[in-house]
Amino acid sequence: MKNDMKKASDPCIKVEGLKKTFVNGTVTVEVLKGLDFTIAPGEFVSIMGPSGSGKSTLLYLLGALDTPTAGTVQMNGRNLHSMRGREKSRLRRTELGFVFQFYNLVPNLTVEENILLPIILDGKPLKMYKERLDELLRIIDMEDHRKHTPRKLSGGQQQRVAVARALIFDPGVLLLDEPTGNLDSKNSESLMRLVADINKTFGTTIVQVTHSDTFSTWGDRILHLEDGMFSD
């Protein structure tokens, strides 16, 4: 059951006048210079751009992991950055999934504990999510590794666990920051296939930041970011 209860025609993500500036001493760097765009529910969008173009910053802002200097990010009609801390946390737990380039699994938790982490943090009974956990383990083909800790897994396996963790609450939006950036081509392709399947099977909105021309085409749309602005 998706959290998105709005009509399909309404944008899932709506960004208006989004700016992000970093100040370091006397130096000010404007990383995002006022972005406006929307993403429809179920859409698979790839954000591309050279290093320092602000694509990761944009993704972190979409994931409510950073605060904009100006502008708004709305998710299903709600402004992320006017939310209080607890609301943001709840949103990250239940409505958003975030996958990092370096997996960011908790090293001393097992695969299944890592996948269940958002449920653990939410305080919901774990039993309720047993079937969901089994289903995700099957999807990512990690049923035999459920009791393993991350250090016993390959990079590709760790990234698949990270994807499963992002999906445990069946969120409407999945954000991926260079998900294949640390994987070899075989693992990268396997992961992207998984992401595309999720998009198709569950109708999950996907936004990925990538350097890869190959994998950027797996989505419905590509947004090119350069010097903090979208280029055509």
């Binding site: 001493g25 992991l65 950073d66 990250r92 990092f100 653990i120 943090l121 774990l126 963790r165």
Partner: protein, 825 residues
């Protein structure tokens, strides 16, 4: 919840060295807290228990209101008391063994019923000059029934015969090879002293729920008698309070150092786990959840460290208990007990201490944006250095102003003034460091490149500055102990130097006026002794309005010339002049006594010494500095002799001969009276040694502070290294080799310790003054001086310890993986 607990336990166990460091810091702090808290009760118990046993669990001493030493107990009304025992008690010295001191108890056969005889003698055998001794004394001196004891008492030597041997109980409980008790038939002593039907020692068991209620009732119903407490626990407690207060004082340093370490360790935990924390946050954990997890970790550290600390504290108390048991040498150690509440207090302290120390890094752990936590991007912070510098300067200046301009106020708030000054130093030095390094960095860079880089690192790394903080606190504790110890030695030396005598006799076991006169006549007739230099003093414990009191009996016309240590000058006159006429019953009291009992010049005070109460008028108050117990009533010696029937005392005199030779010769004579003869130098050295015991105990605390501090320093070095790992990788990629990296790390620690010690040396003189004021606050007034020469070996040792502490870091950082570090996004 189960997974959370599992997560916390796993993360705690992940870094074994840190786990040990944290537990070590908490354990030691808790143990010292526990031991300091329990020490007063323990010593009071150790000292009181033998007293209670020796008094046969009696609580009240009954004296005659007429002031007579010997009185009839026939008319005592047993109101407020359950039963009473009447006896004659006399001091004596054994002549045919090794001049042991004995206390003779003249008792009836019936009063021996609680005692267990080893040989079941009959009542008939307890007659005439027979004597009952303890098993311990019989074994120590191989005495059997029928053996003779030559005892000097009442001015003559008497022969007693051992007629019974009993267990080491009651009055015999404290028997040692130096002094012991002997029970003789009452009739024999009464006949010898010609006091038939009279007693000088009547004791009773309290009859009411409390001692006070028993005394009130007894005194109401017995106008001819007066009941007084048999012993005063408050007095014993007050005697040990000085040591306990000193322990608390040092405990503050241990807690400060440990607190900084726990704080540092949690900083390291947060630093190392920033990615995990970021991950938790990215998966929807609230900031509260993260703080909760970290604080729960602090709670568990507190719980485990607290448990170890309590166990260690119990062990420390047990050792101290064993050590402080007066009869330890005879295998008699009081049952070891401590209040259960101590465990609760220590447990709460450990948990609270761990959590409070961890609080700041825990709160800060989630202050940054989630993205910055995950990617370890440091957000530019508002510089607080200037604000801290201003606040620190204010604290330092405020403390100095109070200390120098208004010393009495500074003494009233001494611990806070000292704490403010220390916090001031800790707030001021970072800015000074910043200024100095910025001033010299560019000048030394061309010549000493790596050194300059290292020093610059200290300037920019909060963790390394944290190291300076740890070392400053530990070094201040060293300065405190060394200054206190050397000042104590100096004060005792000065005090003895200020007294004009060559030889000193004390511990004379006779309260007989005749014996005393004989002793004094003998000394006067000795041509080797300067006759006019002979002077007597005495100290005696008693009561005033239910509080303990000590009388210092002096010869007023002589005492002021005898010592310059106490300044009795008052205007154009001398405070001691008022004591000259004994009939006026005047007293000059110590400032401590005046403050404790709320007395002023002109106050009338009922002094009860030797069970005889006399009213005295306070004619002066004098600062006695550290003289004896610092709490006393100076009275004319004649008053104690005539009004309170106290005839024992100390004797001081000069000699024309070599004091050491004369002491050897006089020793034999005074042994007959149990007296001890010492030269001034011997007396001074013994006094210094007694004071050193306290400083040794404090030194142990100080050592703990340095050792814990060095662990903390190592911890901070790791934090700093972890935070700069990528910088080191960059340097490595630019051609820096391991040796150069090691040099940088070593120079950093060396600079930290040297800078910290320079700060402490600069602060040392002011700190010494503040220690003096804290000592005054603790009723131990003394001038403390800071001596760089005395502190120097400790400074060198600190440099060595902290430099050594860097070695594990050098080993651990051998394999820096440049690729791994550089690829971080």
């Amino acid at each position: 919840m189960r997974i959370f607990c599992k997560y916390i336990m796993r993360t705690m166990l992940e870094k074994k060295a840190r786990l040990v460091l944290l537990l070590f810091a908490i354990t030691l702090s808790t143990a010292l807290f526990f031991a300091s808290l329990g020490l007063t009760d323990l010593i009071v118990e150790s000292v009181s228990r033998p007293i209670v046993e020796k008094t046969e669990e009696h609580h009240i001493r009954i004296v005659s209101e007429t002031g007579d030493s010997f009185f009839s107990a026939d008319d005592i009304v047993t109101a407020g008391i359950k039963s009473h025992t009447s006896s004659i008690v006399l001091p004596g010295v054994i002549q045919n063994l090794d001049h042991e001191i004995v206390t003779l108890h003249g008792r009836t056969w019936d009063s021996l019923s609680p005692y267990t005889f080893v040989d079941a003698p009959s009542e008939d055998s307890f007659s005439g000059s027979s004597a009952v001794i303890s098993v311990r004394v019989a074994e120590l001196f191989s005495l059997e029934r029928g053996d003779a004891l030559e005892v000097l008492f009442a001015g003559e030597t008497h022969t007693l015969h051992v007629s019974g041997i009993v267990g080491n109980q009651g009055v015999f409980y404290g028997d040692t090879n130096r002094s012991f008790d002997v029970i003789v038939p009452y009739g024999y002593l009464a006949e010898t002293l010609e006091v038939e039907g009279l007693y000088n020692h009547v004791t009773a068991v309290m009859g009411e729920d409390s001692l006070d209620a028993s005394l009130v009732l007894f005194n109401e119903m017995n106008p001819d008698f007066r009941g007084i407490p048999l012993y005063n626990e408050d007095f014993v407690a007050s005697m040990v309070n000085q040591q306990v207060n000193a322990l608390y004082f040092m405990l503050v340093f241990i807690i400060l150092v440990s607190g900084v370490i726990i704080h540092g360790a949690f900083k390291l935990i947060v630093t190392e786990r920033r990615r995990v924390i970021g991950t938790f946050l990215s998966q929807g954990a609230t900031k509260g959840t993260i703080r909760g997890i970290l604080l729960a970790e602090g709670f568990v550290y507190g719980l485990v460290g607290g448990a170890f600390g309590i166990l260690l504290g119990i062990g420390m108390l047990y050792v101290l208990h064993d050590y402080s048991s007066p009869l330890r040498a005879y295998g008699v150690v009081e049952p070891f007990r401590f209040a259960g509440a101590l465990v609760v207090y220590a447990g709460l302290f450990a948990i609270g201490f761990a959590m409070v120390s961890a609080l700041s890094p825990v709160i800060r752990s989630v202050r940054r944006e989630v993205k910055n936590i995950i990617l370890d991007i440091r957000e530019p912070q508002r510089k607080k250095g200037a604000l801290l510098f201003v606040l620190g300067t204010l604290l330092l200046c405020g403390s100095a102003l109070l200390s120098y301009v208004s010393p009495p106020t500074a003494i009233d708030y001494a611990p806070f003034v000292m704490l403010s000054a220390i916090i001031g130093v800790l707030m001021v030095y970072p800015r000074v460091l910043d200024f100095l390094i910025s001033l010299f960095f560019r000048r030394i860079l061309p010549v000493f490149r790596l050194t300059a880089l290292s020093i610059q690192n200290v300037r920019t790394s909060a963790a390394l500055r944290g190291n300076i903080t740890v070392i400053v606190i530990a070094a201040i504790s060293v300065v405190t102990v060394v200054s206190l110890s050397s000042s104590m030695v100096r004060i005792v030396t000065d005090a003895f130097d200020s007294m004009r005598f060559d030889i000193y006799v004390h511990n004379i076991q006779t309260n007989d006026p005749g014996s005393r006169r004989t002793i004094m006549d003998t000394l006067r007739e000795d041509e080797r002794i300067v006759g006019e230099s002979l002077m007597e003093t005495t100290s005696v414990e008693g009561n005033v309005a239910g509080e303990f009191a000590i009388a210092e009996g002096i010869e007023p016309g002589r005492f002021d010339d005898f010592t310059d240590y106490i300044d009795f000058t008052h205007g154009d006159g001398n405070l001691l002049d008022a004591l000259e006429n004994a009939e006026e019953r005047n007293t000059v009291i110590a400032t401590t006594t005046a403050a404790r009992l709320g007395l002023d010049v002109g106050s009338a005070v009922d002094l009860d010494f030797n069970g005889i109460v006399q009213t005295y008028t306070v004619t002066g108050i004098v600062d006695v500095r550290l003289w004896n117990t610092r709490d006393m009533f100076f009275v004319n010696l004649a008053n104690l002799r005539e009004d309170h029937h106290i005839d024992h005392g100390r004797i001081y005199f000069d000699t024309h001969e070599n004091p050491e030779t004369l002491v050897d010769e006089l020793q034999d004579y005074f042994r007959n009276f149990g007296g001890i003869v010492q030269t001034r130098d011997e007396a001074r050295d013994i006094n210094i040694e007694n004071n050193r015991q306290l400083s040794r105990m404090l030194s142990a605390f100080s050592l703990f502070a340095i050792v814990i501090g060095s662990f903390g320093a190592l911890n901070n070095m790791f934090i700093s290294y972890l935070q700069r790992k990528r910088d080191f990788a960059v340097l490595e990629s630019l051609g820096t080799h391991q040796g150069q990296r090691n040099r940088i790390l070593l120079t950093e620690s060396l600079f930290c310790v040297v800078f910290a010690l320079v700060v402490v040396v600069l602060y040392g003189n002011f700190h010494a003054r503040l220690i003096g004021q804290v000592a005054s606050f603790l009723l131990l007034p003394m001038d403390i001086t800071f001596s760089l020469v005395e502190i120097f070996p400790f400074l060198l040792a600190s440099i060595a310890i902290y430099t050594l502490a860097t070695l594990p870091l050098l080993v651990k950082t051998r394999n820096l993986n440049v690729i791994e570090e550089m690829k971080i996004e």
